[in-house]
């Protein structure tokens, strides 16, 4: 039995389907990276998992129990790190964590210990008496995490926890996630930063249009991608007509323009490179440099969704 299981889950807003018969299994102890462009249905999925939002069809099981039927019990097992900073500016860091700890049923000595532990874990113990207004963006993000982990949740859901912070705080958060995972928590992690997902996830799921379009370990996914490769060609000039012709080519999966550089995802065949050179020369465009890149999750994402992660 998987720790988290979504079975044919459907969610509609009026007539618009935001999560479309989504099925997914996450094992205990995993760090599962959930990727998808904006509007793919990630946040809705997270809200359904945490019991914040009811689903219309299907079933979500956490530790074998239905989220719909046992919402309050399931919530005790989950720690949600929301995308937005959900902390009180009028309270100190310690008061923030204490308040949310009380909502999870902690009290007395245990509550005090857990609050200290959580603040220590995110590196804010020395600033526990300060209000968030005196914190940097990264410190606020860390407090946002502390409020979600003080009750030792079995499942931690992090919705873009590193948005808009400095590299030092990002590293701290990434290290914290590894530690939490090592301590036994299962983690679902969404991010717009592909390198973060690649670095910490044991498995990755890619969502688009409310559906899971790919799921597996990084290696499995890249296997799925096949031998598609990314090529960068710098040219002396660019014309729209050449882009149209390149995009028509059956083995060129996508073409992006970055200044005078063409970024292309290719199905490597014997002739595709020659074809590109021919198309360029037929438009009197002179290539200046070439670069090939090994396939990665970014490539896969582009290949599957036709968009970059930050679109």
């Amino acid at each position: 039995m998987s720790f988290v299981e979504l079975k044919q889950v459907l969610k509609r807003y009026d007539t618009k389907v935001t999560v479309n018969h989504l099925s997914l299994k996450i094992e205990k102890g995993e760090v599962f990276g959930l990727l998808g462009p904006n509007g793919a249905g990630k946040s809705t999925t997270i809200h359904m998992l945490t019991g914040l939002l009811p689903y219309d069809q299907g079933e979500i099981l956490i530790d074998g129990r239905s989220v719909h039927k046992h919402t309050i019990d399931i919530k005790k097992k989950i720690g949600l790190v929301p995308q937005d900073l959900a902390i009180y500016e009028t309270l100190t860091a310690r008061e923030n964590v204490t308040f949310f700890g009380r909502l999870y049923g902690l009290s007395g000595k245990l509550l005090r210990e857990r609050v200290d532990e959580a603040l220590d874990f995110v590196g804010l113990k020395d600033r526990a008496g300060d209000k968030p207004g005196a914190y940097s963006g990264g410190m606020k993000r860390r407090l946002n995490i502390a409020c979600a982990i003080m009750h030792h949740p079995e499942l931690i859901i992090m919705d873009e926890p590193t948005v808009g912070i400095d590299p030092q705080s990002r590293n701290h958060i990434m290290e914290s996630i590894r530690k939490l995972n090592a301590m036994g928590s299962t983690i679902i992690y969404t991010s717009h930063y592909m390198e973060e997902v690649e670095a910490i996830s044991t498995r990755v799921g890619i969502m688009d249009h409310g559906q899971l379009i790919a799921c597996g370990t990084k290696e499995e996914l890249l296997e799925q991608l096949g031998r598609d490769e990314k090529m960068f060609i710098t040219v002396d000039t660019l014309r729209d007509s050449v882009l149209v012709e390149l995009r028509r080519h059956p083995h060129i999966l996508s073409v992006e323009v970055l200044g005078n550089e063409l970024e292309m995802l290719l199905k490597p065949t014997d002739t595709v490179f020659q074809d590109i050179l021919f198309i360029l020369s037929s438009h009197q465009i002179k290539p200046i440099s070439f670069k090939r890149e090994e396939p990665n999750l970014e490539t896969l994402f582009l290949s599957l969704t036709g968009r970059t992660l930050r679109d």
């Binding site: 945490t50 939002l53 929301p82 959900a86 009180y88 949310f100 909502l103």
Partner: protein, 390 residues
């Protein structure tokens, strides 16, 4: 239940940390009571005020029907309480008497006065002002009231087809012209002092503002995403809302107790002996206020919208109920009945003054009814606040 208390404590803790809110809720009402109570105390003076009699010289050139009617008006008992009339024979004599300060003003009635009135037209007279403005104003008002009423009566007689039998010369007619009405603010206020009156009205107004802060707080939880975090914890949405409203209720009750206690001790406001009645009125005003706030929080989407709409409603209700300017009868007082303040102010005020207590209880029961209806509406609408999707 424990979670309701946690949320309630959080609400109180947050309020206690917001200096601007503390100032508005706890200091501003005391300041306003002091300012209004001091500035308008003369209007509330419980002493009898009888206007000084005005000496008026009258040079009446009119020889028509109105001459005798006017004479009767001047000789009527009510008029004589205010006016002492001396007839003079010329305009010159009239002016000389004013200059000599023998009279306070002079009235010149033109020869056409009766003709104009009998024709249903506006009649003109000339008033020669004396040195005292207040006396001049008083005479002008009385004379204006007299000519307005006689003109209207005659115009009505013409329209109704009884021309030829207009205003007759019976003394009853002249007496019936109601040009003199002496009243005072105290007629409606049971001898209350300005501090008592404004302590009462400001108490109710600021209790209503207390409700606004709860509505804003509820919506800010949603806007700041802390509501999402709270209901991601094992807490029912209804407990979160109930905890917040309970916190606001306690804050309002503390606010009410502080206003009553402080004004009693420092300003010497006598809140009367029926503190149970006052306390119950405060309690049900708070319930009505918080319920109204919850309804608005359920209907409106942003805390800013609630702030502007709710504060406008409270100001209008306070004004219409006479909370800022005391109304002595009239249409505004009737309109005031459609406000929460009218019932709450009326109830507290009568309990405070220890008069007309049966009416006070009646007003309180109406207030309870309003609070009950608003509470039901709040239960219906407040669930919408719990939605994390705006």
């Amino acid at each position: 239940m424990r979670n309701i208390l946690h949320v309630m404590k959080l609400e109180l803790l947050q309020i206690s940390r917001m200096r601007s809110v503390l100032l508005i809720l706890f200091v501003l009402p005391l300041l306003l009571i002091f300012v209004l109570g001091s500035a308008l105390s003369s209007q509330f003076s419980a002493n009898e005020y009888t206007p000084e009699q005005v000496k008026l010289a009258v040079y009446n050139q009119d020889t028509g029907m109105m001459k005798s009617i006017l004479q009767q008006f001047f000789q009527s008992t009510k008029t004589q309480e205010i006016l002492s009339v001396t007839n003079v024979d010329s305009e010159m004599e009239l002016k000389n008497r004013i200059q000599a300060r023998e009279v306070d003003g002079g009235l010149i009635i033109p020869a056409t006065f009766s003709t104009e009135i009998m024709g249903g037209h506006t009649a003109d007279w000339t008033y020669v002002a004396g040195p005292t403005t207040s006396k001049n104003d008083m005479v002008r008002m009385m004379l204006q009231a007299f000519t307005d009423q006689t003109t209207q009566t005659q115009a009505a007689a013409i329209v109704l087809g009884v021309n030829g039998t207009p205003i007759n010369s019976s003394s009853q007619k002249a007496e019936s012209i109601n040009a003199v009405k002496i009243g005072k603010l105290q007629d409606n206020l049971y001898e209350a002092s300005s501090f008592q009156y404004y302590s009462c009205t400001m108490l109710i107004m600021f209790l209503l503002f207390g409700g606004m802060s709860s509505a804003i707080s509820l919506l800010r939880e949603r806007e700041n995403k802390t509501l999402q975090r709270m209901i991601a914890a094992p807490v029912a949405v209804s407990h979160v809302i109930l905890g917040k409203l309970l916190g606001a209720t306690i804050q309002s009750i503390i606010q009410g107790a502080l206003i009553i206690g402080f004004t009693g001790l420092v300003y010497g406001v006598d809140w009367g002996e029926n503190l149970l009645g006052v306390g119950l009125t405060v309690f049900f005003t708070v319930i009505a206020s918080i319920s109204l706030a919850a309804v608005l929080a359920g209907i409106l989407k942003s805390s800013k919208a609630v702030e502007s709409i709710y504060s406008t409603i409270v100001f209008i209700m306070t004004f219409l109920s006479g909370g800022m300017i005391v109304f002595v009868g009239g249409e505004l007082e009737s309109v005031g009945k459609f406000t929460l303040n009218y019932w709450a102010n009326g109830s507290v005020f009568r309990f405070m003054m220890g008069v007309d207590v049966n009416t006070a209880w009646h007003l309180l029961f109406v207030l309870m009814g309003i609070a009950g209806v608003l509470l039901l509406l709040a239960i219906r609408f407040a669930r919408r606040v719990g939605s994390i999707y705006e």
